[in-house]
């Protein structure tokens, strides 16, 4: 599903963000990526989302060889995954419904399937009543659930979550990860970057620890110390 093979990334200013990182995440797995600030977690996600290219090594995601991915193929890769960000990244002038609808529109889905699927997914994340609200009218936790609904709506095989609990309170954070956990139980692969050790320990899933751009530890069903 996601395969890193001896991946290194050196930026144009000479910064080595990742150094010979290799790991594989199988279909249906739930993995946390942990590490201190500047360890290389964000670079790792940027590589998966094809925002950056590797300097060395190969990455395969959902059958796409990212080392040889052309600009035109990037939308197809991104449509095959759902992405959740720390800052939610909702379009402010679209309602909750429209934000989720947009993700389906880019896949050229029919209006009929959109009308069926969007309310269903909003119901799954507990926001059925908020469909007509705008993001600014929602709390941080609710906005993140909209982002999660948007990531889910196309039924992706992978969900990439970049510190999804970074901007919300602890109680809501637990709910968000719980939602991701439920989604994972339905067969979706989850890759979540976080620095909240409490959550990682609580859910006891695979932990990939990045330190100074290198793979420091890969613990199946593990936990990390504070």
């Amino acid at each position: 599903m996601i395969c890193f093979d001896s991946v290194s990334k050196v930026y144009s200013n000479g910064t080595k963000a990742l150094d010979n990182v290799s790991f594989t995440i199988e279909k249906g797995e739930f993995a946390f990526i942990v590490g201190a600030s500047g360890a290389g977690k964000s670079t790792l996600l940027k590589l998966i989302m094809a925002e950056e290219k590797t300097s060395e090594g190969t990455i395969t995601v959902n059958g796409f060889d990212l080392s040889h991915l052309s600009q035109k193929e990037i939308p197809a890769l991104r449509k095959s995954m759902g992405i959740v960000f720390q800052d939610f990244r909702l379009i402010e002038n679209m309602t909750v419904y429209e934000n989720v609808e947009f993700a389906m529109r880019v896949t050229n889905a029919s209006t009929r399937s959109i009308r069926r699927r969007v309310p269903y997914v909003l119901g799954l994340v507990g926001l059925g009543e908020k469909a007509r609200s705008y993001p600014r009218q929602l709390s941080g936790g609710q906005q993140q659930r909209v982002a999660l609904a948007r990531a889910l709506v196309n039924n992706p095989s992978i969900i990439i979550a970049d510190e999804p609990t970074g901007n919300i309170d602890p109680e809501m954070s637990h709910e968000i990860v719980e939602l991701l956990n439920e989604i994972n139980h339905c067969g979706t692969t989850i890759l979540m970057v976080t620095h909240e050790h409490r959550l990682v320990n609580e859910f006891g899933r695979r932990v990939i620890n990045i330190k100074d751009g290198k793979l420091a530890a890969d613990i199946p069903d593990g936990s990390v110390r504070k």
Binding site: P75, R89, I91, V106, T107, S110
Partner: protein, 298 residues
């Protein structure tokens, strides 16, 4: 692309025009100001040319016919003059008519000269293109039965040079204004798109293709261009008509002929609205496409 997706993108473009009211108003304002200034410059240039054309029309070649020319010769000369190139109108005055005209002015001084050939028959010729007056005079002088040719060649030269200067200066001013307007409009659209770069960025992460993102921006740009074109047209219509009526109603008689040669708004209304719509829609649409390009590289 499905029809549903296409109509969705069209609706998004129209909706965004309303949602981003402040930037829409700014874009329409700038585009309108530019279109009105360019439009007025063109109208001014065209009107000056029209007035010069009218003044040129007042210049004529007067051809006096040799009084000793036979009737057959007169008939041949008449045909030759009427067949000349570059002549817009020919007015013939016979010997008798010439005498009558002068008799009216001079009265009894001419009594008793009725049967004398004092005044020759003449032709008053108006030209289509005043710059060719010398060629016309030369051709006419060579015809059989010509007594004399009077032509304001010096005045014609001045008029032709004035027209050429107005044409060149008018074109330079209009082109310069167009270039300045384009730069201002492009920058306004760039600012509009820049303020929405985050939106574009999000769309890219959701997997939208470049064309999918551009389409609503294209529609939005075209709508703003069309609105600016319509507002400009109405403004120019109102202002031009006010000026036209003002000049026409408050003009001394010696200039009334020149005023009559001003271009009435009705004569240019269709051309103006079509030119405005084409310019507004093209500038708005292409401006949006070009401005979004920079933010699509995510």
């Amino acid at each position: 692309m499905r029809l549903g997706s296409f109509t969705y993108l069209l609706k998004q473009g129209a909706k965004n025009t309303y949602i981003n009211k402040a930037m829409s108003i700014a874009s329409v304002g700038v585009l309108t100001a530019c279109l009105v200034i360019v439009g007025f410059s063109m109208l001014l240039s065209e009107n000056i040319k029209s007035i010069i054309g009218f003044v040129q029309q007042q210049n004529e070649i007067i051809v006096y016919v040799d009084p000793s020319l036979s009737a057959d010769g007169q008939s041949l000369l008449d045909k030759q003059i009427r067949a000349l190139d570059n002549i817009s109108s020919v007015e013939y005055t016979s010997k008798e008519e010439a005498f009558e005209n002068q008799h009216e002015k001079l009265g009894e001084l001419l009594d008793g000269y009725e049967n004398e050939d004092i005044f020759p028959a003449s032709y008053h010729l108006k030209m289509k293109d005043l710059s060719l007056i010398e060629d016309n005079v030369e051709t006419i002088s060579k015809l059989e039965g010509i007594y004399k040719v009077d032509a304001p060649t010096d005045v014609a030269e001045v008029m032709v040079k004035t027209e050429q200067t107005v044409t060149v200066a008018g074109s330079v001013v209009v082109i310069a204004l167009l270039v300045v307007s384009l730069v201002i409009i492009m920058n306004t659209i760039k600012i509009t798109v820049f303020s929405r770069r985050r939106e574009i960025n999000i769309m890219k992460y959701v997997g939208a293709t470049n064309s999918f993102i551009r389409m609503p921006f294209l529609v939005e740009g075209m709508i703003l261009g069309a609105v600016a074109a319509t507002v400009s047209f109405l403004l120019v219509w109102y202002l031009y008509t006010q000026i036209y009526n003002g000049v026409a109603n408050d003009m001394t008689s010696w200039l009334s002929g020149a005023v009559a040669s001003l271009i009435p708004f009705k004569a240019i209304a269709w051309k103006l609205i079509l030119a405005y719509l084409a310019t507004g829609i093209l500038v708005g649409g292409f401006g949006s496409l070009i401005s979004t390009r920079k933010h699509l590289k995510v």
